[in-house]
Every structure is written in structure tokens, then in C-alpha cells.
């Protein structure tokens, strides 16, 4: 995805520089939502303000919207064919594998300090327990807890270094 964005926005249309698009990619990493949307909004806003942002975002969403809408109309009939059902038995396993792999890739990019490692492990365990016991506990709540714990740790560290004197 990002290579297509660079090709069109930087090389072909020269809307923004390569450095800028890299900057957007970094911001996109730490903001919610698909990176393509973030880039489209950024480039659109930069060139033509709010209207530009709306038009660019709409443009990047439209093709997948139309394709998936058409698929959704035919999917149920398609899923009644026997060999398709069997193919999807295999595909469902592959989807799990792809999701697992996405997690591994994110670990590679993550800073591996003790805090981060502990959070990865504990959220993994809690999620598995939620699934096994079918607890009514949303993953968003889990994310809130992790964020709050992280802020508290930073605050405690600051309070301590404040007491300890000039220590940055």
C-alpha cells in the first residue's frame, strides 16, 4: 500500500516530498485507522484544505467500498457451493496464521523494554482467558488499562526523579 502511495503522490504527481510521506507514515503508526486513510487525509488537506482532505479520503475508500459491496451481494450464494465451503475450511486456518504473523511483525518493530514485554504477555494471557471462559470483557477495556498503567508508571518515575534531584 505505502509503495503505491509514494509512487503516485511523490513520484508522479509531486504533491508532497518523500520525507513528508515518511513522516506521515510514522504518525500513522501511532494513530488509529488504516494508513491509506491517514495519507489521503494528509495529502488532501495539504493541497486544498478541508475539501481536499474529504475528496482524497473519499477517493481512497470508494474502490474497496464498491468491490466489497458487490462481493457481499453474491457471497452467500457463492458460499453454498460445496467445494467453495471446503476451500474456506482451509482458508480459515490461513487467516489465523496471517493474524499471528502480523503480531510477530509488530513485535519485531517494538521496543523490547521489560515494560512492553510484560504488557504483551499479560494482554495475551488475559485475551486467551477471555476466550476460554467467554467472559464479557472487551479488548478496548484492556487497552484502556494498559494505557493508564503506562501513564501511571511515567508519573511515578517523574515523581521519583524529582525527589532525587536534577536527573534527566
Amino acid at each position: 500500500m505505502i509503495s503505491i502511495i509514494i509512487n503516485i503522490c511523490v513520484v508522479k504527481k509531486k504533491w508532497i516530498t518523500h520525507d513528508e510521506i515518511m513522516n506521515v507514515a510514522v504518525i500513522a503508526e501511532s494513530t488509529p485507522g488504516p494508513i491509506a486513510i491517514n495519507c489521503a487525509t494528509y495529502v488532501g488537506y495539504k493541497k486544498k484544505g478541508i475539501m481536499g482532505a474529504i475528496v482524497a479520503t473519499l477517493g481512497v475508500v470508494l474502490p474497496s467500498f464498491i468491490i466489497i459491496y458487490l462481493i457481499s451481494i453474491f457471497l452467500n450464494n457463492f458460499l453454498e457451493i460445496k467445494w467453495v465451503v471446503n476451500a474456506f475450511k482451509g482458508i480459515r486456518v490461513a487467516v489465523g496464521l496471517l493474524i499471528l504473523d502480523a503480531g510477530f511483525n509488530m513485535i519485531e518493530k517494538m521496543k523490547k523494554e521489560p515494560f512492553q514485554v510484560a504488557v504483551v504477555c499479560s494482554s495475551f494471557i488475559v485475551m486467551v482467558l477471555i476466550n476460554i471462559f467467554a467472559w464479557n470483557f472487551s479488548s478496548i477495556l484492556l487497552m484502556f488499562i494498559a494505557a493508564i498503567v503506562s501513564v501511571l508508571i511515567i508519573m511515578v518515575q517523574e515523581a521519583q526523579s524529582g525527589k532525587g534531584g536534577a536527573f534527566k
Binding site: G33, Y45, G90, A94
Partner: protein
């Protein structure tokens, strides 16, 4: 009212999907199952289709879930809702000259969020594999796929594309369960 539910459900997905497409999958699964919109298996099938069609996965899933629950309008509402937070947040960051982004408390929040999401994603992946390889044939497929996907990367550091993996898994499904 289904449109309002779709809007709120996918707005939360759009708001909390830090870390891109795969971070959104556990959230979408949460929302879809808690509202009882579609079967979990159907959602898994749809993730595979989203991976094989162009466009961001979470936009594809929003369109699919929305339009299968509320027709064309449902699709539009869900897609709009999932995109809205990303759109607004980027505008805010640009307007505030990235000051917000550099704030140490924002950084602290992200420091907690990201590893938490990774744990959630890993757990979701594991649960999906276990759930879908209940009999010996799918368990066999799982082993073959894991070898095909991870071993070449370790040895040749070459990555099999997700679409190729999905195609191989489909072929294995047809071979083991018949046409």
C-alpha cells in the same frame, strides 16, 4: 436501530485500531460478536476475502458487515464510521503542528497501547487457528501452512505473500475435503 448500532460499533473500531489493519480485526470481532451481527465463521471468511481484494482491510470489513446487516445504506454508514476517527485525528495533528503528538503523556499512552494490541492480536490469531483446526484434517492443513509460511522465511528470508498463502490453503481445503 441498526444504522445507529453500526455507526457506534464501527466508530469504536476506527477509534481504537492503533497499529493498522490487523489491530482492527480483534476489535471488529468483538463488536460483531457482541451485537450478533454475523457468524464468526463468516467474518473469518470475509477477512480472507478482504486480504485478497484491494483497499484497507478494516474498510472492507466495515463495508461487508454494514451492507449485510443494513443494505447499501448500512454499508455506507459503517464505512463512514470506521474512517471518520482516522480522518479527524490526522486533521487535528496537522492543525496542532504535531505538538499533541510529541506530548509526553500521549507518548506514555501509546507506550501502553501498542504492546497491549500486539498481545490481543497474537491471542486472536492463536484462538482462530485452534478454533478452526478441530478435526485432524484441518490440523494437518494448519501444520502444512505454518511450515510453508514460516520455514522459507527463516532459510531464504523470502516472504510468501498473504494472497498466495490463502490460495494454497484453499487448495489444501479442497484436496482434503473433496470437491
Amino acid at each position: 436501530m441498526i444504522y445507529l448500532e453500526l455507526f457506534i460499533g464501527f466508530l469504536t473500531v476506527g477509534l481504537f485500531s492503533f497499529g493498522g489493519a490487523y489491530a482492527a480485526i480483534p476489535l471488529i470481532r468483538d463488536v460483531v460478536i457482541s451485537y450478533g451481527w454475523i457468524e464468526e465463521d463468516t467474518l473469518t471468511d470475509m477477512i480472507a476475502i478482504s486480504e485478497s481484494t484491494p483497499g484497507p482491510i478494516m474498510v472492507n470489513l466495515a463495508t461487508y458487515v454494514g451492507s449485510s446487516k443494513g443494505g447499501l445504506l448500512g454499508g455506507i454508514v459503517a464505512t463512514f464510521a470506521v474512517v471518520l476517527p482516522a480522518f479527524i485525528i490526522i486533521l487535528l495533528i496537522m492543525a496542532m503542528m504535531k505538538r499533541l503528538h510529541g506530548n509526553k503523556y500521549v507518548q506514555a499512552i501509546l507506550r501502553g497501547l501498542k504492546p497491549c494490541i500486539i498481545g490481543i492480536i497474537l491471542a486472536t490469531g492463536c484462538m482462530m487457528i485452534i478454533k478452526n483446526s478441530k478435526d485432524y484434517r484441518t490440523a494437518l492443513i494448519a501444520c502444512i501452512l505454518a511450515i510453508v509460511y514460516f520455514v522459507p522465511r527463516k532459510i531464504f528470508s523470502k516472504k510468501l505473500s498473504p494472497i498466495l498463502l490463502i490460495m494454497i490453503s484453499a487448495a489444501l481445503g479442497v484436496i482434503t475435503y473433496g470437491v
